[in-house]
């Protein structure tokens, strides 16, 4: 709770610093503030302030773990921003402040115990993102991304709110425990509740970009500034899954809802992977691979058990580390090739920047799920969970789609390791070099020592 307050204050302070024109001090202050929030979260101070929240939030180990991860992702991205916004003078304060505000929403999403708070948190997180997606004001595609995200997001929010209202109408409470108890008691007989749950889950499915609520994600991911895309792919996705699992963790899902979720999982796996096969632009490839990974995460989500939160956490963190690293690599190659995002711009990378190429390989192998990278362990644990839960066919499909995934990641690795005589020199700033090295080492380290990454 104190971390939440610190983060909110940090956002306001950053806005004011922007007004005062203190451009050069922005990032140091932001990073210091995030470190402070992280310290508070690690120390676990001031967790239960029931008087203030009236029991509508609970920062238990689950929420605390995910909050730490969210703050760390933001920290990584802010360090990336040092280089990303090195030439930009204007509006940086607003962008950083909005990212902090979105982070506040994301942290609340991990710790809510009340559906109304969940709705507020989702909105607090989303509204800054609608603006951030349009961050490149002179780019049409960025504007398109913003409008698309805003329109579809508003619809999703509307349905989400409707769902919450229907659930309330059925069990006369916003409290999560009461709703879960009602699901066990009334379950499938309560049509109103069923419909409410259906809409609520659709709202969350929109945020995690599960098929058929994924239509916004490729365009928005492609059009947004890379830093924001990375933010959506890590912070937003993690928060959405944390919230999603918190909602259904102790809930005995009615058969219809369960079947719907299983179907959505299968479709997400199929569509994400198969469409990613046809992508030649790296950013768009990552967008579809994000959908594909949503599929694997949904599979874990649907297999509740004592180990599920750990698996989700492990998967999300290792996935985020790999994607942050790859988005930085994308920025580097995009600069060298003057804005080209085609994967052939990776060619000759092993010659011009061997270490970057090796890290890129590690990160891609991790996303593909090849052993001795964290991605393998993450997928392996998901398969283990889902087979324990008895989803034989869906797991079979997931395994097959993991193979498809390997194909499109390996193609990129192949490009990075294909010699190219006139390859453009890659300029890597020190901070970016450190960041991608960190990500690359982390995905191997967490594969060897996964116990370091438990909730």
């Amino acid at each position: 709770m104190s971390a939440l307050i610190l983060l909110s204050v940090l956002g306001v302070v950053l806005m004011f610093m922007g007004l005062r024109g203190m451009r050069d001090k922005l990032l140091p202050v932001a990073v210091a503030g995030l470190l402070g929030a992280l310290a508070l979260l690690v120390a676990g101070r001031g967790l239960e302030w029931p008087v203030l929240t009236d029991g509508m939030m609970r920062f238990d180990g689950y929420a605390l773990g995910f909050s730490r991860a969210l703050v760390v992702f933001t920290l990584l991205l802010f360090l990336f921003a040092i280089d990303y916004y090195s030439k930009v003078r204007e509006n940086v304060a607003e962008i950083l402040a909005l990212m902090i505000f979105a982070l506040v929403g994301a942290v609340v999403m991990a710790g809510y115990t009340n559906l109304l708070v969940l709705f507020l948190a989702v909105e607090v997180m989303s509204i800054p993102l609608y603006i951030l997606a349009g961050g490149k004001r002179d780019s049409l595609r960025s504007g398109e991304a913003s409008i698309k995200y805003f329109l579809q997001g508003s619809f999703a929010s509307g349905f989400f709110l409707l769902g919450i209202a229907l659930v309330y109408g059925s069990c006369a409470s916003f409290d999560l425990a009461t709703v879960q108890a009602h699901a066990a008691a009334a379950g499938a007989d309560d049509r109103l509740f069923l419909l409410g749950l259906f809409f609520t889950i659709s709202g969350l499915a929109f945020k995690v970009a599960a098929v058929p609520f994924h239509f916004w994600s490729p365009d928005v991911y492609e059009g947004s500034p890379t830093l924001i895309t990375a933010y959506m792919n890590t912070v937003v996705k993690t928060a959405a899954f944390a919230a999603f699992y918190r909602l259904i963790e102790h809930m005995q899902l009615p058969f219809a809802v369960h079947a719907m979720l299983l179907l959505m999982t299968a479709c997400t796996l199929l569509l994400g992977n198969l469409v990613a096969l046809r992508q030649t632009h790296f950013k768009r490839l990552l967008a579809y691979s994000a959908i594909a990974h949503t599929g694997f995460l949904m599979l874990a989500l649907l297999s509740p058990g004592p180990r599920t939160p750990d698996v989700l956490y492990y998967y999300l963190v290792t996935y985020a580390l790999a994607t942050v690293g790859l988005f930085i690599v994308l920025t580097i190659t995009k600069r060298a090739s003057r804005g080209d995002e085609h994967i052939r711009t990776f060619r000759g990378m092993f010659r011009t920047a061997p270490w970057v190429a090796i890290v890129t390989m590690l990160l891609l192998l991790s996303l593909a799920g090849i052993p001795l990278t964290a991605g393998f362990l993450a997928k392996y644990r998901v398969f283990m969970l889902s087979l324990e839960a008895g989803y034989l066919w869906t797991t079979g499909l997931a395994v097959l789609m993991a193979l498809v995934g390997i194909y499109y990641y390996v193609i990129v690795i192949r490009e990075a390791f294909t010699p190219q005589p006139d390859a453009l020199p890659l300029r890597v700033s020190t901070v970016n070099w450190v960041l991608i090295s960190l990500c690359g080492i982390a995905v191997v380290l967490f594969a060897v020592m996964p116990q370091w990454l438990a909730l």
Binding site: I370, F376, G396, V399, V410
Partner: protein
């Protein structure tokens, strides 16, 4: 702890080669490393008491049934010896190949060796899988960087083909691991006792990976092209050692975990293997390129070995495992000769050779000895293995033996025909080539010596596989 050295020696050497890049001395360092590994393997053999030896057991991740436990039984030791014997020759072949960036090539080869040791030492199913997949990565880069024409697409095809099996294997392994009472050790696979209905489909999930790796018909689509474009050392690794991972996997994973499934599909697999063996032998007859000929002959031999395993009797099992070693030695020698010929004539196409025995009589003799091993003449190593396999198949069905023997006949035809086209006949091309030198003798003579010694006295190797084979047979329902 000695076994841990087998993992560490190649790994550390490879990493040093990657970092320090000693271009001139890279091959020498790598050769030294492989010889050191060979010494360690021989020490293991000398001190092998029988049964299953646990070298190391450290809990790693109990929650997902992953322990870092290394050990070996007779079969594992045989595979370790095979790997240890093969790699010095593979590195040695590099002196003739002269690939670019020798430090990188040798580092990749040594990484492969390390991961292969890992496969054969792993006593935990997940650890086994991890090493199994890892061994693919260095080979991927060997193919991608040093391969021939069209290597980009062929490499990816090879990779995906193999991983298709790998993913199925992962599914099968995870399915076994979530069963009650499974602690993740390889031994526990043999105590699974799954219902027969489950075993019949689980068999394919587990077997597919090894069927592709071997490869048996009809899962061989990746093999000929890969063998053609890969650099010689890469083919040597694939054919001499990696292929044996398939046999090892069948013996260690498939047969213990799903005995009823294996019994249910026994005929199917044997017939597929033998059909593939005959088919490959017929294709080999029509090849004009020595490397493609070796690729198909390798597939033909492997088909017979796989059939031997699935005969599931004492003859078949021991024969197939013995034959694994014999085949490794044979393929190394054949490929080395192909490389030596290419080094001299600039091609591996047999159409551009002929009458070479006049110009290189010593190499012609060595080649003849290798060919004699290849066509399984008595007193050569291959004869022992083939003979045992045929006996094993006879106990299942004599018609199967008939099919298997056909491959020997065809093998004799294509081997001798190849020899004829390369070495005999008039010296029509008038090539200025020099005869086998010291390096060629250093590689070929030991290989031929191994075939002759083990052909005359196969006891030590057969003893190794005897115990584990009996244990496997006790699973026979």
């Amino acid at each position: 702890m000695t076994a841990l050295l087998l993992l560490l020696i190649p790994f550390v050497t490879a990493t040093l080669l990657m970092v320090l890049r000693p271009t001139e001395r890279a091959r020498g360092i790598a050769l030294g490393s492989t010889l050191a590994s060979l010494a360690v393997a021989l020490v293991l053999w000398a001190g092998f008491p029988g049964g299953t030896v646990t070298d190391l057991h450290t809990a790693w991740l109990p929650s997902i049934a992953l322990d870092f436990s290394l050990g070996h039984d007779g079969i594992g030791l045989l595979m370790l010896l095979l790997t240890s014997v093969a790699f010095p020759f593979i590195i040695g072949a590099g002196y003739g190949e002269r690939l670019r960036h020798p430090s990188l090539v040798n580092a990749l080869l040594l990484y492969t060796q390390c991961f292969l040791y890992g496969v054969f030492l792993a006593q935990n199913v997940v650890l086994f899988y991890i090493f199994y997949e890892l061994s693919l990565i260095p080979v991927f880069f060997l193919l991608l960087y040093w391969g021939g024409e069209h290597r980009r697409s062929i490499t990816v095809r090879f990779f995906i083909y193999t991983l298709l099996g790998g993913m199925a294997l992962l599914f099968g392994i995870v399915y076994c691991l979530v069963q009650p009472g499974m602690d993740g050790s390889m031994d526990a696979l043999g105590r699974l006792q799954l219902p027969v209905g489950t075993q019949t489909w689980l068999f394919w999930a587990l077997f597919l990976a090894f069927a592709i790796k071997l490869p048996i018909f009809p899962f061989h689509g990746w093999q000929p092209d890969t063998y053609t474009v890969a650099p010689m050392q890469g083919v040597m690794v694939l054919a001499a050692v990696m292929l044996k991972m398939g046999l090892y996997g069948v013996v260690k994973v498939v047969l213990p975990a799903v005995p009823d499934g294996a019994l249910y599909w026994q005929r199917t697999v044997i017939v597929l293997s033998l059909v593939g063996a005959v088919y490959a032998a017929i294709i080999a007859l029509r090849q004009h390129d020595l490397r493609r000929l070796i690729a198909y002959s390798s597939m033909s031999h492997v088909g017979v070995m796989c059939a031997g395993l699935f005969a599931w009797n004492h003859f078949g099992l021991t024969g197939a495992l013995f034959q694994a070693l014999a085949h490794a030695v044979l393929v190394l020698a054949m490929l080395y000769i192909t490389g030596a010929l290419k080094e001299r004539t600039g091609t591996s196409g047999m159409g551009a050779m002929g009458g070479l025995k006049l110009r290189m009589p010593r190499l012609a003799v060595l080649f003849m000895l290798v060919v004699m091993n290849g066509i399984s003449l008595p007193l050569f190593q291959s004869f022992v293995g083939e003979w045992l396999v045929f006996n094993g198949l006879w106990e299942v069905d004599r018609w199967l033996t008939f099919m298997a023997v056909t491959t020997i006949v065809l093998g004799a035809i294509y081997m001798l025909y190849a020899y004829q086209r390369v070495m005999l006949g008039p010296d029509k091309w008038q090539l200025e080539v020099h005869d086998a030198g010291l390096r060629d003798h250093l590689v070929l003579v030991p290989l031929i010596a191994i075939t002759l010694v083990l052909g005359a006295y196969p006891g030590p190797i057969l003893e190794l596989v005897d115990g584990p084979a009996l244990t496997l047979l006790s699973l026979f329902p």
